[in-house]
């Protein structure tokens, strides 16, 4: 990863609104040509960070280096950075092509060149036929594409996207996720996307930064973040996770029921420390050979999801049932009923250990 070229370097940046610290001393590097996702729940500071990159908020302190040049003193209108707004902010009194041309007109570009670039952009987003339409005559997905085109046509060094798919319905959203990824490859511009949807971040991004309380919790590739979450919060935030409470004893964890849970290592924890063992539902199974761990339980609820069945199994590991995803092909047509006895198996390599807090 380190051989990538750093495009943007955020250094110890903070933004305070009166008493509250929206962003608090955050540092982060973003590489050239990557698709980067800022992931966090509302209030995590991700949107404030994005707005500081665009120049719409002034940082309380810290530096934003773009191509090694500090952007903080540069006015929003002069930065080679463009933002695609969550609301799209398409100008309602201008047609699609006027909207796209607007940013180029601000650069005092020649008319013929503007027309040519707008035309190219319309082709890329496949809306040539809609050029004369007003935004209110477009569907949600079309508006989203126009907003994207309007920002992209200026060929910014960095394109910021604030919840770009938030306003679309579910089906269109998954289509647009791939479409955005394709577009990013095609235009070769660095994308920084803000989202609260972890699935969206996993699908689209090359790297993800999880934000919490104005700071960075963890940064890495989707796989790193999914497989090796840094702490209990990150593990819970990305995907689903079962947490089995216990205490450390040597290389294993002893649950409150005295049952032993084997894990790869308990490095960093002391004997007797209160921890949780974390296992993803899809890493548990009803049939598994040589699994180090197992537990008997009774089916609490069973929900059919098409490609798998989600079982909630009551066990001796606390009051909260354990979630298990059972692939359809492994169980055939046999339905589960509440109260059925089952045994859950999982490998120690799939078990993570976090401090219990």
């Amino acid at each position: 990863m380190n051989n990538e070229n750093t495009l943007l370097s955020i250094q110890n940046i903070s933004k305070h609104f009166n008493d509250s610290k929206a962003v608090d001393g955050l540092s982060l590097d973003i590489y050239e040509n990557e698709f980067f996702a800022l992931l966090g729940s509302s209030g995590s500071g991700k949107t404030t960070l994005l707005r500081m990159l665009a120049g719409l908020e002034t940082p309380t302190e810290g530096q934003i280096l773009l191509d090694d040049k500090d952007m903080v003193p540069v006015h929003a209108s002069k930065r080679p950075v463009n933002l695609m707004f969550q609301s799209y902010a398409l100008f309602p009194h201008m047609s699609v092509e006027q909207n796209i041309a607007y940013g180029l007109e601000m650069e005092r570009m020649e008319r013929s060149l503007i027309d040519k670039k707008v035309q190219e952009m319309l082709e890329i987003i496949q809306l040539e036929k809609m050029a004369k339409r007003r935004p209110d005559q477009l569907s949600g997905g079309q508006r989203q594409r126009v907003a994207l085109a309007r920002a992209l046509v200026k060929k910014p060094r960095l394109l910021l996207l604030d919840e770009p798919l938030g306003a679309l319905d579910k089906k269109l959203r998954s289509e647009m996720q791939l479409e955005l990824k394709r577009l990013q490859h095609e235009v070769g511009i660095t994308f920084v996307i803000v989202t609260h949807d972890q699935e969206e971040a996993l699908v689209m991004a090359d790297r993800i930064a999880i934000m919490r309380d104005g700071n960075l919790l963890q940064c890495g590739t989707p796989q790193e973040i999914y497989e090796h979450p840094k702490d209990r919060f990150a593990a819970d935030f990305i995907g689903e996770m079962n947490f089995l409470p216990g205490v450390v004893q040597g290389d294993s964890i002893i649950a409150s029921s005295k049952r032993k849970i084997s894990v790869m290592s308990t490095n960093g924890f002391e004997d007797g420390e209160s921890v949780v063992a974390a296992i993803r539902p899809e890493r548990m199974s009803l049939f598994l050979e040589n699994a180090e761990n197992s537990i008997e339980g009774k089916v609490h609820t069973s929900a059919y999801h098409g490609m798998d069945i989600l079982l909630h199994v009551s066990t001796e590991f606390g009051e909260k049932p354990i979630s298990v995803r059972v692939p359809i092909h492994s169980v055939g047509d046999k339905p589960f009923k509440a109260g059925d006895s089952v045994t859950l198996y999982w490998y120690e390599k799939d078990t993570r250990v976090f401090a219990n807090k």
Binding site: Y88, A89, R150
Partner: protein, 289 residues
């Protein structure tokens, strides 16, 4: 369903008949009256004629129409100019102050029109504060009082209708998605360019509504010319009043009214249909916002 309709008709009928008898019928009567002759001692001779309309378009009355339109137009331009910037200043103030600022901008509108006009007589008359103030400043003999001039009438109209213009210009500004302005800045526009190309065009519905309102109420205004103009010069409302109550030429008064009402209604209808058209757009904007 049938029962509901019957009940609704019973409930609607009295008010409906009242409005027909005292609004629709009188308006239709004006239409008719304009085509009759004046009686020798006042009153009406029921002979069809177009004389009244020839008179309306003759130089005297046409001139009064034109000067009324000029006064109303000047008042409209000034009121819209001040009102728009006031609305803009309010709309860009901190959110928590906006309702209060707006409330105080509109509050004078709630007090009596005559009294608001009278307040200017108090300020402007020859023994009034403004003249006294200018004397105190040492201007020789004081500046001349503008009371009973066209300027005073325009001033009075602007003063009386300004709150409405502020209100109607504020509506589109407050409703405007703030992202529009930021998007424009992000795309490289200066503040002035953003104002000229985004904010101003999007405020046009409010500006138009305010302008039509001020113009329509100014051109037919009766009180302000009578009080601040001192009756020394006439706007069309005063002339019509005189035809009915002093000159006793009802048919001519009706013909003048018809033309005035025509002008007003055409403007109001244009504005209403323009507003109707922008409603669709407005709903979509709100979706975006």
């Amino acid at each position: 369903m049938n029962f509901k309709n019957k009940m609704s008709s019973v409930l609607i009928a009295p008010a409906f008949l009242w409005l027909i008898a005292l609004m629709v019928v009188p308006c239709v009567m004006i239409l008719v009256l304009g085509f009759f002759q004046r009686g020798i001692y006042g009153g009406i001779e029921y002979n069809f004629t177009l004389e009244n309309f020839q008179l309306v378009f003759d130089s005297l009355y046409a001139g009064i129409f034109l000067s009324s339109a000029r006064i109303a137009g000047t008042a409209t331009i000034i009121a819209v100019f001040i009102g728009y910037f006031a609305a803009y200043a309010i709309a860009t103030s901190p959110k928590k102050w906006q309702p209060t600022l707006l409330f105080f901008a509109v509050l004078p509108f709630w007090s009596n029109y005559l009294i608001r006009t009278y307040a200017w007589i108090v300020l402007l008359n020859r023994e009034g504060l403004l003249v006294g103030f200018s004397k105190w400043l040492g201007i020789d003999g004081g500046i001349p009082s503008i009371l009973y001039t066209e300027s005073a009438v325009i001033l009075g109209l602007v003063y009386n209708y300004l709150p409405f213009v502020i209100l109607s210009c504020y509506a589109p500004l407050a409703r405007m998605n703030p992202d529009f302005r930021e998007a424009s800045t992000d795309l490289g526009a200066s503040n002035f360019t953003t104002f000229r190309r985004i904010t101003l065009p999007l405020s046009v519905p409010g500006i138009a509504a305010g302008a039509v309102f001020v113009f329509v109420l100014s051109i037919g205004n009766f009180i302000t010319p009578a009080l601040l103009g001192g009756g020394r010069f006439q706007m069309i409302g005063n002339v019509i009043y005189a035809q009915f109550l002093t000159a006793n030429d009802w048919p001519l008064g009706a013909a003048l009214s018809m033309v005035l009402i025509g002008i007003m209604m055409i403007l109001l209808m244009i504005q209403a249909s323009a507003a109707q058209r922008s409603i669709g757009q407005k709903n979509k904007e709100q979706l975006d916002g």
